[in-house]
Assembly symmetry: C2
């Protein structure tokens, strides 16, 4: 099969890889229909040391089951499914608490012999716990919106949930990337009264208004800005991997009773909850995709996202 | 009147001060019956630069109203009252949210011309919002336990509340000072299943067992220990002023979905909630006082607490 592999910063190649096969009875092989390039893929794209082996890329995809292992009773060949961006058994103690990112038998795509999602097919471990069936046809116009359930939509939602957003709250979202825009959408969906979006790209903040932002502040900053924006007793909820090891958690944070939360999104916990709003048209998260590429054009997609020419890239196989 | 004043690290003196008088119609003057030395008083005791003016000390006290201003309709001379460790109007937007430590018209004892609690009398600003009547006689044996409502009991409770402790939870409390012991008591009161107390003083951890600790770990450490002890998806709730400006809030905290919370306790928000458990004997927080001194002996009390000879000092006027 063909798949995207990163060999170092700025070096993504689409090349031949072995066709995925069932290794464990809990595996399934998924033929990918749609995938995406994630903001987090841009971190290794900016900084990954050169390697001979390469790393298969991509963790957001949906597709059709090609083969299911003997211990995947809920799925059959031909089923259209979506994956959260980490795989999980969905039965361990962490999964039962809705923290599938900490699953005791889970893991990440593109590592340890597991394929990435930016390719023609993927062997999905723990397929029974990981994959969720999509109740639409394989040519549905909703596929781009449904694809956002794999990561970015759920991640924005996770930020709002961890922040404890409830009806009438004032919410400030820092950053107008796809995750920031979905944090706006999620805060709006949870009933926030005022949603201030801090971002520097007019086309993105404009989409943010459509998603529910009531105010736009033309800035984009980091944790210090968040502590400046939050009120006493408020919550700073972070998404995405920080590019710092230490933060300002000294006396001022304590005296003001500020909470710092957020984290890697257990997307598996939210897929069923958010999907109905996509199916009935209440939300249209697929609007974040402003460019579509073929698998062979994935290297161009990385360049466009890294150069901020594109907000988010849809890969159509 | 006589009152304790700090003139620098290690230098607490009991001296004559002007008798407090009503300045504002929202003031009340309270004749102090019982006060305490707080763990936070030990910070300036260890580090305060030498000053000529001195700083009146103490923020935990209860006593009898001597005079109430014209805008303090709920209180009269002779009422037995307790104060939270900060004064507040209890009507502003922050107070209404239960965050009286951020009151827009509030402040701290011993600063800006307001007396400290380690003295014979105190002018209490915003007395109507600040003071809470105690439904016992001035010679009640419950006074030491009721005094803990001023700060330490509520502070331990605040830590457990901000941590979201609920029935069956596993809680680790780091530190066996009075606040740590009350965090144990509060976690137990909120139904925690397992309560691990990390502390190095056998007499204190023994009291911790009486307060509800199920396990004792003979260690005492800081924020790094907390991040080590907490499970994925768990909450680190801090109390007391940190002696660091930065903390380890980088990728590991995010990937593990750890929340960092806690803060200065809005004791005023909890006094009415916790008082009944003292009045009916369900809890006996006064057991943390292991030494009683007179006002003139307050300097000895500081020495004993700073030297860890005493857990917490009760001042009996």
């Amino acid at each position: 099969m063909r798949a995207a592999v990163m060999y170092g910063a700025g070096d993504v190649r689409v090349e031949d890889r072995p066709d995925p096969k069932i290794h464990e009875p809990t595996d399934a092989v998924v033929r990918v229909l749609r995938a995406a390039i994630c903001g987090s893929d841009l971190w290794p794209y900016a900084s990954m040391p050169v390697t001979d082996q390469g790393r298969p890329m991509g963790h957001e995809f949906l597709g059709v089951i090609e083969e299911a292992g003997s211990q995947v009773p809920g799925l059959s060949a031909g089923d259209l499914v979506i994956t959260p961006f980490t795989w999980c058994d969905n039965t361990c103690d962490f999964c039962r608490k809705g923290l599938q990112t900490s699953c005791r038998h889970g893991g990440r795509y593109g590592l340890g012999g597991v394929d990435g999602g930016q390719g023609e097919a993927v062997r999905v471990p723990q397929a029974q716990g990981t994959l969720v069936k999509l109740p639409v046809a394989a040519d549905s116009a909703l596929l781009p919106s449904l694809l956002t359930l794999s990561d970015v939509l759920c991640t924005g939602h996770h930020g709002a949930v961890k922040a404890g957003v409830s009806r009438g709250d004032t919410v400030t979202v820092i950053g107008d990337g796809a995750v920031g825009l979905f944090a706006v959408l999620a805060a709006h969906r949870l009933g926030a009264g005022q949603i201030i979006l801090m971002g520097g790209h007019p086309d993105r903040t404009s989409l943010g208004r459509d998603f529910g932002a009531t105010d736009i502040v033309a800035e984009r900053d980091a944790l210090v800005a968040a502590f400046g924006a939050v009120g006493d007793g408020g919550v700073v909820s972070r998404l995405g991997v920080p590019n710092y090891a230490e933060g300002p958690v000294g006396p001022a944070m304590l005296l003001r009773n500020i909470t710092l939360t957020g984290g890697a999104c257990p997307a598996r916990a939210y897929i069923e909850e958010l999907m109905p709003d996509i199916l009935d048209g209440t939300i249209e998260p697929g609007r974040v995709f402003d460019r579509t590429v073929s698998l062979d054009q994935v290297p161009d997609g990385y360049r466009a996202m890294a150069g901020r020419e594109a907000l988010k890239i849809l890969i159509r196989n």
